[in-house]
Amino acid sequence: MINYIIRRLIAVPLLLIGVTILIFLMLMALTPVERTALYVRDVPRNDRVLEGIIKKYGLDDPWYKQYWRWLFGTTITTTEDGVTTVENIGGILRGDFGYSRTASQPVGELLARRFPASLELALYAVIPVIAGGIFLGVVGAVKHNKPLDHIVRIFGIVGWSFPDFVFGLLLLMAFYAGTGWFPPGRISDWANQIVTSPAFHNYTKLISIDALLNLRFDIFFDSLRHMVLPVISLAYLWWALTLRVTRSSMLETLRQDYITTARAKGLAERTVINKHALPNALMPVVTLGGNTVVGLLSGVVIIETVFNYPGMGAAAARAASQLDVITVLSFVLFNGLILVLANVVVDILYAYIDPRVRLD
């Protein structure tokens, strides 16, 4: 097991280097002028000044020099009128991703501010995906070809065909514009004033959790109220997929000989399903876990835009539509890192539950 984990972990840095190189290649497809946003806040219009900046930060150097600088940053010493200034700048490893034109602030700050909001959404979305998807998938398989199974099947295929933004818009139409129950945004204005006031402690930056820790239940419910619709729209797609995978894997497992054996020796059906079939049937679902993380991260881009939810995805969508490549590329980088790590966790988890994986 330890052997397997070590082997798997060795691949991580290689994959990470690959990810950064691919992202950097996209960056190199930009003109040096567009790349100045990596180092300067406002890109000047003056050609002579621009040329100076490009020279100063070496934006037309060979790609490997620029790649190195992009990763680790650079120290620039300038002497002007006898005053020497030393400037440590750039370097994604130091958390300096450049300046976001669309958000008018450093990308690093933007990420730090927006990420907790998206994380909060994704965390709440994972619960129905895992609980509901697996439960209904098992029910569908056990009641194979009964009416309940058909309902579950139809749910699965229609859910999979329903684009998340259409679903989100329809929910908004019904439950916000129609009834006013669940408003868009992250939190109401009155609650926002309290949350941003010094009396309110931000322990985790996840508003619903912080509200509980501050014993402000009104804020807790307010933030839940804002999250209901985006969480449903974010979750149902993966919920439908988890359901389908669980169902087909469970059906496959229930056909195995050892299940017949378990039934033949007189075990209760409940034991056969829960103890003998389910653990094996869940393996493909664990693999799906990595995909679900991918899906939720991609999903927030559209869902947050639909619901005006101030998270990472909405910021990325806004940056991309205004061609602010530096910003959106940093989001890709950040999410790519999360993804690589999530896949490692899934692989190790998989090896833990299925001993056969460790052998090859």
């Binding site: 691919l22 684009p163 818009l169 514009a177 389908r244 169902r247 087909s248 991309a320 539509s321 993804l339």
Partner: protein, 343 residues
């Protein structure tokens, strides 16, 4: 043609029942696939839906005549007002040519906004009709290009094996390590200033990150077929490697990839519409369903009143994706009977 007239060799094969003209024409395997598709109620619904979309796409100039024949994808606007108009409102300014069937059906000379207008007075009906062409074009092109790249990489990888396989599969891993939508969005933003605003940038961006699933699937299918007896037999007889790959292995290994492709067309159409919903891709006013849906964002608080901005394009998009998914699902059941009803 009846069974009696057939050459003797055909009847010697496993078919000892009458063979109708279609089976004779397309061959046994393809006939079985077609028959399976035609008798499965799920796929029949899917095929009917798909047929409707193909009809709408083909008949777009008749269903919604364009103002200018050279630029039919530009949705006509009835003025510039911000407040949407309900379905059935009459056209006031710059009315496009009246479709001939409208007069035949209603007896009126006045063309109306069949599905209302969005903010900015874009005609929703026109966008839905011409958007069908955009969706079909984008979905099919992205999938086809993805399959071509995927099949090439998967086949080369499985065929050469060793270091080539290792490198190609690690590259595939790498491309899969990116969050799909976010990366496609980025690449599209990189490409747009270079290719101009339009369909090309988002489509290329989606293609670049769409081939990995096809490559992996084909590779694993080839690897398992490579060990079969009939391949060994061909090798023993001295058939060239490339001929074995293209004539013996690929035709048998390609089916799961094609099934996957048919199921992906719908999801690429969703992603493409999603990108244009976010404002990435075509110009404002281009006939595209995602574009139409994005107009709804101007009226978030009053969507109950202006429901037609999302319901018409939204339902159309759902039905479009559903039709491909139903056909793909049935195709898989037919091509792999072992899986029948297991999903």
């Amino acid at each position: 043609m009846t069974a009696q007239e057939q050459p003797a060799e055909t009847t010697v094969l496993a078919i000892n029942r009458p063979v109708n003209w279609l089976e004779h024409l397309v061959g046994h395997d393809a006939y079985r696939t077609l028959k399976g598709l035609a008798t499965n109620p799920v796929s029949v619904i899917g095929l009917i839906l798909l047929g409707m979309f193909l009809f709408v796409a083909a008949a777009a100039p008749v269903l919604a005549p364009p103002v200018s024949k050279d630029d039919p994808y530009n949705i006509p606007r009835d003025g510039y007002g911000a407040v949407p108009k309900v379905p059935g409102t009459e056209w006031k300014t710059r009315q496009p040519p009246l479709p001939f069937w409208w007069k035949a059906v209603t007896g009126k000379d006045q063309w109306v906004h069949l599905m209302g207008t969005a903010s900015g007075q874009w005609d929703i009906y026109y966008g839905v009709i011409w958007g069908t062409r955009t969706a079909l074009f984008a979905g099919l092109t992205i999938t086809l290009a993805g399959v071509l790249i995927g099949v090439t990489i998967g086949a080369v990888s499985a065929y050469y094996g060793g270091a080539v396989d290792m490198i190609l599969m690690r590259i595939t891993d790498l491309f899969q390590a990116f969050p799909f939508l976010l990366t496609a969005m980025t690449l599209s933003a990189v490409l747009t200033p270079r290719l101009g605003k339009g369909l090309l940038a988002p489509m290329i961006a989606l293609i670049v990150f769409s081939w990995m699933g096809f490559a992996r699937l084909l590779r694993s299918d080839i690897l398992s077929l490579r060990e079969r007896e009939y391949v060994l037999a061909a090798r023993v007889v001295g058939v060239r490697d490339s001929r074995i790959l293209f004539r013996h292995i690929l035709p048998n290994a390609i089916f799961p990839t094609l099934v996957l492709a048919s199921m992906r067309i719908g999801s690429y159409a969703i992603t493409f519409a999603g990108l244009s919903f976010l404002g990435i891709g075509a110009e404002v006013g281009f006939a595209d369903w995602g574009q139409l849906l994005s107009f709804a964002r101007d009226w978030m608080t009053q969507l109950a009143e202006y429901w037609y901005i999302i319901v018409f394009p939204g339902v159309t998009l759902v039905l479009f994706v559903l039709s491909w998914n139903l056909v793909g699902d049935a195709l898989r059941d037919v091509l792999d009977p072992r899986l029948q009803g297991s999903r």
